[in-house]
Assembly symmetry: C2
Homo-oligomer: 153 residues x 2
């Protein structure tokens, strides 16, 4: 399935978290399904906090990039813009908040869902949940800020 | 110089962000200097958000692990515990908040400072700043929660 980050301009496709052109990165892929951003990520064995549990920095990173992709998709939909033909607008993170609800087991794929709770001219606020084995283990809130068009946004 | 994470129990020394026993991780090292946690980190070229700037997920990860190390040091000092002889207590992240004040340039070493603003029985609240080239580019606030002694805390 098509994903948001496939439509970032080339100059904005090198992010370690979600850039399709970063050879070493996580390659987060946000799919836009029925008004929500969805993504799945499979951590590697070294991404541990302690044996058996996912490292919180990875959880924060996934929530960050997935929320930014969701902001681009949500804002585009609200404006009637098709990112497949017009490209995805580029947002950056103004602030990132993560509540670690319970430890995230290392092993099952991680499922992310995110949705916009506020869409402004330059700012989109996105809330999200990360779950493993069907249980929510972290909740996120990201303030996404649109880059000026002169910077690629 | 000695650092806090050197004194985590072996079972808690595998964290991707700060575990001395994680072969692939970031190895954040928190030094306790005059009541503050300090750390320096040199990002690798692939840790980019876009060319020339550090990936926000890395900034969040560094703030997370450095704040947890600072919580252990601050709580130990407040209790008169010497972590070099008694080991560092192990905290986990309850919540992580990062304000990205401005883009962080990719190139210079990143300097982290963190300090406790609240030290409770089980909870330590830590605030922090990350800077590059002498300018603060991100501010953090972490709620650190002590693991029960039965789990290694």
């Amino acid at each position: 399935m098509d994903y948001v980050q496939a439509h970032y301009p080339e100059g904005f496709a090198h992010c370690f978290g979600c850039g399709r052109l970063n050879a070493h990165g996580h390659h987060v892929q946000t799919r836009w399904v029925e008004g929500k951003g969805r993504a799945t990520f499979e951590p590697e064995p070294q991404h541990m906090a302690m044996p058996g549990f996912v490292y919180g920095g990875l959880v924060a990173s996934l929530i960050d990039c997935h929320s930014i992709g969701t902001a681009a998709a949500a804002a585009s939909e609200a404006r009637g813009v098709d990112i497949r033909s017009e490209g995805a607008p580029r947002y950056v993170t103004g602030s990132l908040h993560v509540d670690f609800v319970k430890p995230t087991p290392l092993g099952p794929p991680l499922e992310l869902r995110a949705w916009a709770v506020e869409i402004g001219e330059r700012k989109v606020v996105v809330e999200s949940e990360l779950s493993a084995d069907g249980e929510v283990t972290a909740k996120g809130r990201v303030v996404a800020v649109r880059l000026p068009a002169s910077m690629g946004g």
